[in-house]
């Protein structure tokens, strides 16, 4: 038994354990959630957050931080609800251009050696500006196929759970189990040695930023599929949620240490934390603080585990 509960295993299990504890508390407080219908309602808004968290994770993986993700997801949501619905070709082109723009940002940050926080903070205003230009007042409508996908009611297992598992597994296999993924992660851990081994750092950064852009686009599309229409400020919370979710799920700000499965679990945990506090009937003025307290609690637990890990 003790052999399985090494600090390393504990560390990996911590995000899942926090989620399980939270879920148990929610089931206890509100037994209605323990049904197909309940889980669906409880978790469906976590899907776009999970996608945004994966996007942020790609950036964290190369030791950067993206402060524009919320604005970017809002922009892609606006494009999805307008162009992608009215003129699909233009919509696809615009969304592709968004991904390319993200890759170009990665190149800019790498070539000019700029701090990513400053560049992305600046870009967040650009994204919001374009979003307001595309959709000055809230509106638009979700393309029928996205709406159908996001409101799918498969038998037995609710769609949000299937979606989360698929997202986590696909990214896990691509980033953690493939040869290319190892190089990509290596840049976060030790860029010099990756460069000496003959890999282009520029290409890695551009790839990671493009992947982040791609998942940002997915997040915006998923969000519109749920809300049915968009708003230029629809996803501003996602910047902080995605960073918190990535870290909560076992990622680190430096060192290329990330976990796709953890990131998805972290995102779901954060989304559930909001529901948990609301079921507790906590005064909303305290809810942001309480959400922060949950984050600090989980991170403190992790610190405890890591310090034991180092001692061994």
């Amino acid at each position: 038994m003790a052999r399985f509960l090494t600090p390393k295993a504990l560390r990996t299990l911590l995000p899942a354990l926090s989620l399980a504890a939270l879920l148990a508390a929610i089931f206890y407080l509100q037994p209605r959630t323990m049904s197909y219908f309940g889980l669906n309602l409880l978790l469906n808004l976590a899907v776009p957050i999970a996608l945004a968290t994966i996007a942020q994770m790609f950036i964290l993986c190369v030791n950067d931080l993206d402060l524009s993700l919320g604005a970017f997801v809002s922009l892609t949501a606006c494009i999805t609800a307008t162009w992608l619905n009215d003129t699909p070709l233009l919509g696809v082109l615009a969304l592709a251009a968004c991904v390319v723009a993200y890759g170009a940002l990665g190149a800019l940050i790498h070539l000019r050696n700029l701090p990513s926080i400053v560049v992305t903070l600046g870009m967040s205003f650009v994204w919001t500006g374009i979003a307001v230009l595309i959709l000055p007042t809230p509106g638009g409508s979700a393309p029928e196929w996205i709406r159908t996908l996001m409101t799918l009611k498969p038998s037995l297992v609710p769609f949000p759970i299937i979606a989360s598992v698929v997202i986590a597994l696909v990214v896990h296999i691509g980033l953690m189990r493939s040869a290319a993924g190892t190089v990509l992660r290596g840049v976060g851990g030790n860029p010099k040695s990756v460069e000496r081994a003959g890999w282009s750092l520029l290409r890695v950064k551009v790839t990671m930023f493009s992947l982040a852009g791609l998942f940002g686009v997915f997040s915006g599309m998923a969000l519109v599929g749920l809300t049915t229409s968009a708003d230029a400020n629809i996803a501003l919370r996602y910047t902080l949620l995605s960073i918190a979710g990535g870290i909560l799920g076992g990622g680190e700000f430096v060192g290329g240490r990330v976990s796709p499965v953890g990131a998805v679990i972290g995102a779901i945990t954060l989304a559930l934390a909001g529901s948990f506090l609301s079921f507790l009937r906590l005064n909303p003025d305290w809810q942001i603080g309480a959400q922060g307290a949950i984050l600090i609690l989980v991170l403190a637990l992790r610190l405890l585990v890591s310090s034991r890990e180092r001692r061994i």
């Binding site: 309940g38 309602l41 749920l226 809300t227 708003d231 919370r237 989304a271 079921f279 809810q287």
Partner: protein, 339 residues
């Protein structure tokens, strides 16, 4: 002491029974209504929540409904409110009354609620999902009447300053649209500047103080409510003559207007939506739960205060509050049958 408390309890219990038998709506006595509100950071919203609280606790006490709880989101964000609505469905509320962060982007969550058999009533910030009930105010006209009032006062026209609300909220777009339509019809006016005051005095004062040095002489200030007093202070601080500032029914605005009226005969008007519309939304939800037929779209008039009705309205407005009209069940039934 003990005895009198006991007596009071008996009395209130007796009153409670009496009220139940008078309103006779036993059908909804086991129903739960929730208020989902996106923002509470100004005097109007505070008054709206107070009206809800007062009305709802009375309705719960006399057994009209089982619960009527208010929930406010912390960050005024669409995704947050959508999650809140879904949580309210899970908590088993029979009706959800919404003041929405966005008219469109909550439709997914509202549809989920309707599909789960929950009655959805939106007011002030309404939602467009067809299955929801809407209690709307003609915000567009609320902007337009301000310019029309100014046209009646200033025959020669002149330069105007516009103070807008919270950027990106549809109420702000509607009122502003009405103002601009009014200006287009009255070519003697020109809007020289436009700032966002977020419907709050302090924000408005800062914003107006910031733009004033770049403006010519301003004849009138068109507003959205909650911003008039701040604008007046900014003009005073800049040493500029006070223009005609349209007020928004807040206590500090009405007080300032009264002081000016007594001191130098200052004339203006005041217009806003009464925060007590939340109580109308409550009764509409209760009536729908009771099985009554209610039109999907209801409209309520806005509350206008003129030079003559100033004193009366000021006397009825709480310090820090907003001139208010609260709706009883009878008033609400009258509104429903009028529509």
């Amino acid at each position: 002491m003990k005895l009198s408390t006991l007596g009071l309890l008996c009395l209130s219990a007796a009153v409670g029974t009496l009220a139940t038998s008078v309103t006779a709506v036993a059908d909804t006595s086991d129903k739960k209504i929730a208020l989902s509100n996106n923002y509470a950071g100004n005097s109007w919203r505070q008054a709206m929540l107070t009206s809800w609280e007062k009305n709802a606790s009375a309705a719960v006490a006399d057994g009209t409904v089982a619960a009527a709880d208010a929930f406010t989101t912390a960050e005024n964000q669409v995704t947050e409110q959508a999650a809140q609505i879904q949580n309210l469905i899970l908590q088993g509320y029979d009706a959800i009354v919404i003041n929405a962060a966005s008219p469109e982007a909550l439709n997914g969550a509202v549809k989920e609620a309707c599909d789960a058999g929950v009655v959805v009533v939106s007011f002030d910030g309404i939602v467009t999902e067809p299955c929801a009930y809407r209690i709307a105010v003609d915000f567009h006209n609320m902007g337009k009447v301000q310019v029309e009032y100014l046209a009646s006062r200033l025959a020669d026209g002149g330069d105007l300053l516009e103070i807008r609300g919270l950027a990106g909220v549809f109420v702000d777009d509607e009122i502003s649209g009405g103002i601009h339509e009014g200006v287009a019809e009255n070519a003697q006016f020109k809007i020289q500047g436009s700032v966002h005051g977020d419907w709050a005095q302090d924000v408005s004062q800062r914003a107006v103080a910031g733009i004033l040095p770049s403006l010519p002489e301003i004849k009138g200030v068109v507003t959205q409510g909650g911003d008039g007093y701040g604008a007046a202070q900014a003009f005073k601080a800049a040493g500029r003559p006070t223009p005609i500032i349209v007020m928004g029914n807040r206590h500090d605005e009405l007080t300032w207007w009264k002081e000016q009226k007594d001191a130098n005969g200052y004339e203006t008007m005041s217009v806003s939506i009464a925060p007590g519309v939340s109580t109308l939304a409550f009764w509409v939800a209760q009536q729908v739960l009771d099985g009554a037929t209610v039109p999907q779209d209801l409209s309520v008039p806005f509350l206008t205060i003129s030079q003559d009705t100033l004193e009366e309205n000021l006397a009825n407005t709480q310090v820090g509050g907003v001139a208010n009209v609260e709706y009883s069940l009878e008033d609400s039934l009258a509104v429903i049958s009028d529509n």
